[in-house]
């Protein structure tokens, strides 16, 4: 039997009255697929907070998409008792989002902890994104517990990867714990190690209350549920709280801890982790990183580190069926309740009709939002090629912020700046050449290269964000047979020789296909896009030129030859019904055509032209 806390020991660790020295706040840093959720599930079982009967795989990942993709988007905190010797401890496991787009959320989750379990697949070794989060944890002075997971796998090489981890965090390979979330081997030892190695939280119980929001989730029945870590003082039921960034006050309707189901408590004190319900309906009113204090006796200093989420990637989303526009609008309004980073405004495209220009944290965020819109709201959508924000300065000094390529100004441009990222790539050393080739093709600048071991290399690049948002990750994976991993963080801006390439059909500009690309790649983009459209647009009764242009200068051209014959000669032995049905089908098809000038373009052509290839012309 695992050391589930006895009732007597448990009495000392009740919420709101647990001495900080009996608390341990930790998170698990891991790559997608390295088994974080399975390990968390095993901990829930071993500590007795979830019995085997109600256990469902990956208990903590609530949304379907998360479960299907095996990734965590929203973090959560779970309080688990664990007894070592005669003493029961309350362990708070704070789950961290597992993707590059959510670095800020990760940083807030880490700031709520004193320790981190660095979980690495014993058959694969550390991945770039885990490495980035590890550095983040080390910067936050978290105690790092290196753990190799999946040691039950035949392909596991724990010795090799223990050495790699020891090199990274500075320690001995023997310090690396070995577990299997699947079989449960080593998990008790890990829980003991968390108690032993993670420092207890420290705070001033008598100071005005200060708690940091590390997650905020919208729940249909309860409104916004806000997860906080108390630093100083105490939060109690029914008191008034204040958000320091906005000074908004809210009534605390409920306060409690998750275990993992919500349990209302008499409050939460120094070092504790719990949830708050105030009745607000929009996560924007309860933002990650903000400091919560008592409205009657407020703290004056925020805990720091708060940042408004900034959309980095923009894409136009349009319903394929124009009459779905109100459904899309309502769906976005609903998603927004649970997604403080989602920004959108209505947009009209000549080619695609009414839709929205939507700002995302990054590509995964885009994919998740799109997938939820399609799945939960039953929408069929077209999305335009994603783009980043450009700052354009004109010769006359005017500045334009470009969130949509069609906003790119005409006239004399002095400078264009684009966002750049610091990217870290980890891969087996045999792929170094391949990766360099890819990164150079995307205007990357190599910043450094380190060998983690004989076989694994870390490459650091500065890359334009605009060059990696389309298919960089897919290319990386396919060129390295899935072995390379990528992490990036936004790292400022740079000037770049960027131009807008327009696509014209019979002289009419098709706004949905305009793209901002580097001048050297403009020709390739033009050739690719005109060639693709030539294949996708059916022949018309007249010749249709397809041109790519920078301003008034044509850089590429294709021609769709005129259709000469569409008539059917036979009448199928008097089968007029068949002929009429064919006409009705054609007319139905025509309704789904968009007219660009006189050219009829099937919706599918837009979808196909927008979905497959990157704007870089690769």
């Amino acid at each position: 039997m695992p050391p589930i806390a006895t009732p007597a020991a448990n009495a000392r660790i009740q919420p709101a009255s647990t001495p900080p020295e009996l608390l341990r706040n930790f998170c698990i840093i891991a790559h997608i697929d390295h088994g974080k959720s399975t390990l968390a599930d095993r901990m829930l079982q071993l500590t007795g907070v979830v019995d085997a009967r109600s256990m469902r795989a990956q208990y903590l990942d609530r949304m379907d998409i998360e479960r299907e993709r095996g990734i965590t988007i929203k973090s959560q905190a779970v309080r688990m008792p664990w007894q070592v010797g005669e003493t029961a401890f309350a362990l708070n496991m704070i789950d961290t989002p597992g993707h590059v787009d959510f670095t800020y959320e990760v940083s807030r989750s880490l700031a709520a902890c004193e320790g981190a379990v660095l979980l690495v697949d014993a058959a694969q070794g550390i991945e770039a994104q885990t490495l980035a989060n590890l550095y983040l944890a080390m910067e936050n002075d978290l105690a790092i517990i290196p753990v190799l997971n999946k040691i039950d796998l035949p392909a596991a090489q724990p010795e090799k990867f223990a050495e790699e981890l020891a090199t990274l965090i500075g320690g001995e390979p023997e310090d690396c714990l070995q577990v299997s979330g699947k079989t449960g081997v080593g998990v008790e030892t890990l829980l003991d190690a968390i108690v032993a190695q993670v420092p207890p939280p420290v705070g001033d119980p008598d100071a005005p209350a200060r708690a940091m929001i590390f997650d905020s989730v919208y729940d249909t029945y309860r409104g916004v549920v806000t997860y906080v870590r108390v630093v100083d003082g105490q939060l109690s039921p029914r008191e008034k709280i204040r958000m320091l960034s906005t000074n908004a006050t809210h009534e605390l309707l409920e306060i409690g801890v998750s275990s993992p189901e919500p349990h209302p408590t008499q409050g939460i004190g120094v070092g504790e982790v719990g949830y708050l319900i105030t009745g607000v309906k929009d996560v924007r009113q309860s933002r990650v990183g903000d400091t919560v204090t008592n409205a009657a006796k407020p703290a004056t200093e925020s805990l720091g580190g708060y940042r408004d989420p900034q959309p980095m990637v923009y894409s136009g989303l349009y319903p394929i069926d124009g009459s779905d526009y109100p459904v899309l609008r309502d769906a976005l309004d609903k998603l927004k309740l649970n997604d403080a980073a989602l920004a959108y405004e209505p947009e009209t495209s000549v080619a695609l009709g009414f839709g929205f220009r939507i700002g995302f944290l990054g590509l995964l965020h885009l994919e998740i939002v799109r997938e939820r819109l399609e799945r939960e709201f039953n929408l069929d959508l077209i999305s335009t090629a994603p783009n980043v924000i450009y700052q354009v300065t004109m010769e006359d000094g005017t500045e334009v912020t470009v969130r949509n390529p069609s906003e790119f100004p005409t006239g004399k441009v002095k400078t264009v700046t684009e966002p750049i990222v610091k990217a870290t790539l980890l891969a087996p050393s045999e792929f170094v050449g391949t990766i360099m080739e890819l990164a150079q093709g995307r205007r990357g600048t190599l910043q450094g290269m380190d060998y983690l071991s004989e076989e694994r290399v870390e490459l650091r690049y500065i890359l334009p964000l605009g060059e990696i948002i389309f298919d960089f990750f897919d290319q990386l994976k396919s060129r390295t047979r899935g072995y390379a991993s990528l992490n990036y963080e936004i790292s400022g801006e740079q000037d770049a020789d960027l131009v807008k390439v327009d696509i014209l059909l019979q002289g009419e500009q098709v706004d949905a296909f305009s793209a901002v690309v580097h001048r050297e790649k403009a020709y390739a983009y033009g050739v690719m896009m005109t060639g693709k459209l030539k294949e996708l647009i059916p022949r018309q009764q007249f010749e249709v030129p397809i041109q790519a242009a920078i301003g008034a200068r044509i850089i590429a051209r294709e021609t769709i030859r005129a259709m000469r014959k569409d008539v059917l000669a036979k009448c199928y032995g008097g089968d007029i019904s068949r002929k009429r049905k064919l006409l009705e089908k054609q007319k139905e098809g025509k309704k789904r055509m968009k007219n660009i000038g006189r050219v009829e373009v099937p919706q599918e052509a837009f979808v196909a032209a927008l979905s497959s290839e990157p704007p870089s012309g690769k």
Binding site: R561, K565, D566, L568, A569, K579, K587
Partner: protein, 394 residues
């Protein structure tokens, strides 16, 4: 399954519509690879369906048809056109074809100037047959010549010897029958010269009427499968367009005017009135398995296989598989869809006349008739008739 009873709505306006009969003969000696018509090569199909007693069964349907039309209250109309198609009608003995024609006359009455056509395969027809048919009241014969080039005929899996064509044409003319020759263009492997050769051969025979159909590859046919598997190339619409233009020029040069997209005649009297009745939405009863019919906005088609067809008719039921009664909108769509194919053109209602100038400017319609509200296709428009139809129907 439908009982085949006609709705009362078919009566209205019947006085302005001609009445014709199509007789389908669902038998061939061999099946051609491109053909998707309802036809069978076996002589014995079981259940009483066979080539030998087919005429008797079809006559059964004719009698049922005549009483169904009486029952719904349609006034008596003489039959103005009869068309025997297939399959290969001439695979049946001439006596059977004569019996069928006699049955039509008995059931409805035949106009004095009725046009009575049979399709004929150059392989399976003799001078005596043609004389017998002419004597029985047939006025016209349409030979499925398809091409004069052996390699093209081979691809089409046509078995007849092209050298036989002049003979059958002479026999038919000697019997006093009007002669039509059918050609197919666009067969995989057919060159422009092949096509010109076929046209020259046709013109040398001086038929009264020529039909030129672009090959359509249907998915369910042997040729459809060959194209899908890459054994034959898909006919190229540009190539077909060029061949149509060649045909139109050659035929016009020899004095054959187009009166329907695929049909050309030496004089107005040589036009196929039965065909025109289809394009003008007149009434016709299609007799035989899989045959389609139209009476006053009601369309139906018979069960396809000769065996259930025979069983239904023998049980005294109309062998209808399915039917549809057209809405006013559908009737108008059909009027445009079919009527625009004719050289006489189509009256365009006031709401859609505004679209005619664009169609004229695009070179699809003749300008003069358009200014009078009549849509007449140009040569380019004949090839792009579907585009014109779409413009004039929504």
């Amino acid at each position: 399954m439908s009982t085949g009873a006609l709705p009362g709505s078919v009566v209205a306006g019947s006085g302005e519509r001609d009445f014709g009969v199509y007789l389908h003969v669902p038998f061939c000696s061999v099946r051609c690879g491109y053909c998707d018509f309802n036809t069978y090569t076996a002589t014995e199909l079981g259940g009483g369906a066979s080539q030998a007693n087919y005429a008797t069964t079809a006559i059964g349907e004719i009698e049922l048809a005549a009483s169904a039309m009486r029952d719904v209250g349609l006034p008596q109309r003489n039959v103005s056109t009869v068309f025997l198609g297939g399959g290969t009608p001439t695979l049946l003995p001439a006596a059977d074809l004569t019996r069928l024609l006699d049955a039509v006359g008995q059931a409805w009455g035949l106009s004095d100037d009725a046009e009575v056509t049979t399709e004929a395969n150059p392989d399976s027809v003799t001078a005596a047959d043609l004389a017998e048919l002419a004597g029985a009241g047939f006025t016209r014969v349409s030979f499925g010549m398809q091409s004069a080039v052996p390699s093209v005929l081979h691809t089409l899996e046509r078995t007849h010897d092209p050298r036989r064509i002049p003979d059958v044409v002479t026999w038919a003319r000697d019997a006093g029958l009007r002669v039509s020759l059918d050609l197919i263009y666009g067969t995989p492997g057919e060159t422009l010269d092949h096509w010109r050769t076929s046209l020259d051969a046709v013109l040398a025979l001086e038929p009264d009427h020529v039909s030129a159909y672009a090959l359509t590859v249907e998915p369910g046919t042997k040729m459809g499968a060959q194209v899908r598997r890459g054994l034959l190339p898909m006919p190229d619409p540009d190539d077909e367009a060029t061949k149509y233009e060649i045909a139109a020029a050659a035929l016009a040069g020899a004095g054959y005017d187009w009166y329907e997209i695929s049909n050309f005649a030496r004089t107005p009297a040589d036009r196929c009135r039965h065909n025109i009745a289809y394009w003008r939405s007149h009434d016709w009863w299609g007799v035989g398995p899989g045959a389609h019919s139209h009476v006053g906005g009601h369309r139906w088609w018979n069960v396809k296989h000769p065996r259930p067809y025979a069983e239904r008719v023998d049980a005294g039921q109309l062998p209808v598989a399915e039917s549809e009664t057209l809405t006013q909108r559908q009737r108008e769509d059909e009027r445009v869809l079919l009527g625009v194919r004719l050289a006489d053109g189509l009256d365009v209602g006031p709401d859609l006349r505004g679209r005619l100038p664009t169609l004229v400017a695009d070179g699809l319609l003749e300008g003069d008739p358009a200014s009078a509200g009549r849509a007449v296709l140009t040569l380019r428009g004949r090839l792009l008739a579907d585009t014109v139809v779409r413009a004039l129907t929504d």
